[in-house]
Amino acid sequence: MTECKYEGLIDRYLLHQMGEGERNEFEEHYFNCASCFAKMVERDEIVGVLKREKSVFAAEERPAIEARTTALHERVFAFFTPKQWALAGAAAALLIAVLTMTPLFRNGHSEFVMNGEETVRGSSLTLISPVIDINAVPAYFEWKKLGDDVEYQVSIYNGDLLWKTSTKDNTVSLPEDIKSRMIAGQRYSWQVKAFSKEGTLIAVSSRVQFTVNPAN
């Protein structure tokens, strides 16, 4: 016997899960379909009891159902259906196989090319001063030392590069001629790059902006 396509909607109707349009359509249908109406009345009777008679689910059983169904491991496991877990497992195995096999098909080693902004290690280079607006032209610039045998390249910008120098110390003083070119109210920025003794770029600071406030 062929099942009416509306039969599958009985629960949604009884549990008030339908939007207005769908509900109207379903209601019009059961005015015209004696089979669906009979099945709905029968289901409504059972669902009504299930909704009202809490006792049908033994009091001691309810927390057990809740606890069992919300256990963390079950929730994690139940994130996918068994079929989906199987597919995910197969996909992971395929990915591992591809990653393992790929180097075998390469001709020699790939070339590792770095541009001026890439670093070999992920060291962070922290600027100490100046990092906020200041009232006078800074006498020196300071950053956090990374280690011995590190050379720092300091650049100061006023839109364009104003001054650039290198040092093995973690501070640098501004030459007088540069100081004299820095004017109040102008926005400046500075950045430090660290190089190993082999000349490899190992860290780049962020570019920090500051303004020399006009004297009151």
Binding site: N32, V49, R52, T81
Partner: protein, 166 residues
């Protein structure tokens, strides 16, 4: 052309559609609303009058004709009540099975049938109907595919119906 009106056996019509109209009205107004039966009666009377007056011309099915009258009357009733009560009556989710002794006995039968089910069926009914969780959520909670939830619900309902026929 009134002579082409479809012939309708009114007694048969009332017998067939009274339960349908009553069900729809009770769902809309709530079984606890005292006048739902009066509204259902009014609708049936209205349907008979309209058919006698030749207002049903067979342009739609008789079911749709009665559904339309029912829906309009329900809306009118809620509007009237809204004017009086300042708010629409709250439809209750399900009719109270304790309305009559017969209903109470039937409810007890159903409850006993549910209690007699295996825990795996009771828990799916609990989550799906009592907690009103979507099928997918029940599936996640129980760690089974959604299709299996439907199968368990349908099988549990089948077992309950079988138990009721004993």
């Amino acid at each position: 052309m009134t002579d082409t009106q479809p012939e309708i056996d009114l007694d048969e019509l009332v017998l067939k559609y009274r339960p349908v109209v009553s069900f729809r009205v009770r769902k809309a107004l709530g079984g606890a609303t005292p006048d739902w039966e009066d509204v259902a009666d009014e609708i049936i009377t209205q349907v008979i009058e309209k058919i006698k007056n030749g207002e049903f011309r067979g342009e739609s099915s008789i079911g749709t004709f009665i559904y339309t009258i029912t829906s309009r009357r329900i809306v009118d009733h809620i509007r009237q009540k809204t004017k009086v009560l300042r708010h629409a009556p709250e439809p209750s989710a399900f009719p109270d099975p304790h309305e009559t002794v017969e209903n109470r006995e039937r409810a007890e039968q159903i409850a006993n049938a549910v209690k007699g089910l295996k825990p795996k069926f009771r828990e799916v009914l609990y989550l799906y109907y009592y907690k009103e969780m979507p099928r997918e959520e029940v599936a996640r909670r129980l760690g089974i595919p959604p299709r299996r939830v439907s199968e368990r619900v349908n099988y549990a309902l089948k077992l309950i119906k079988k138990d009721l026929k004993k």
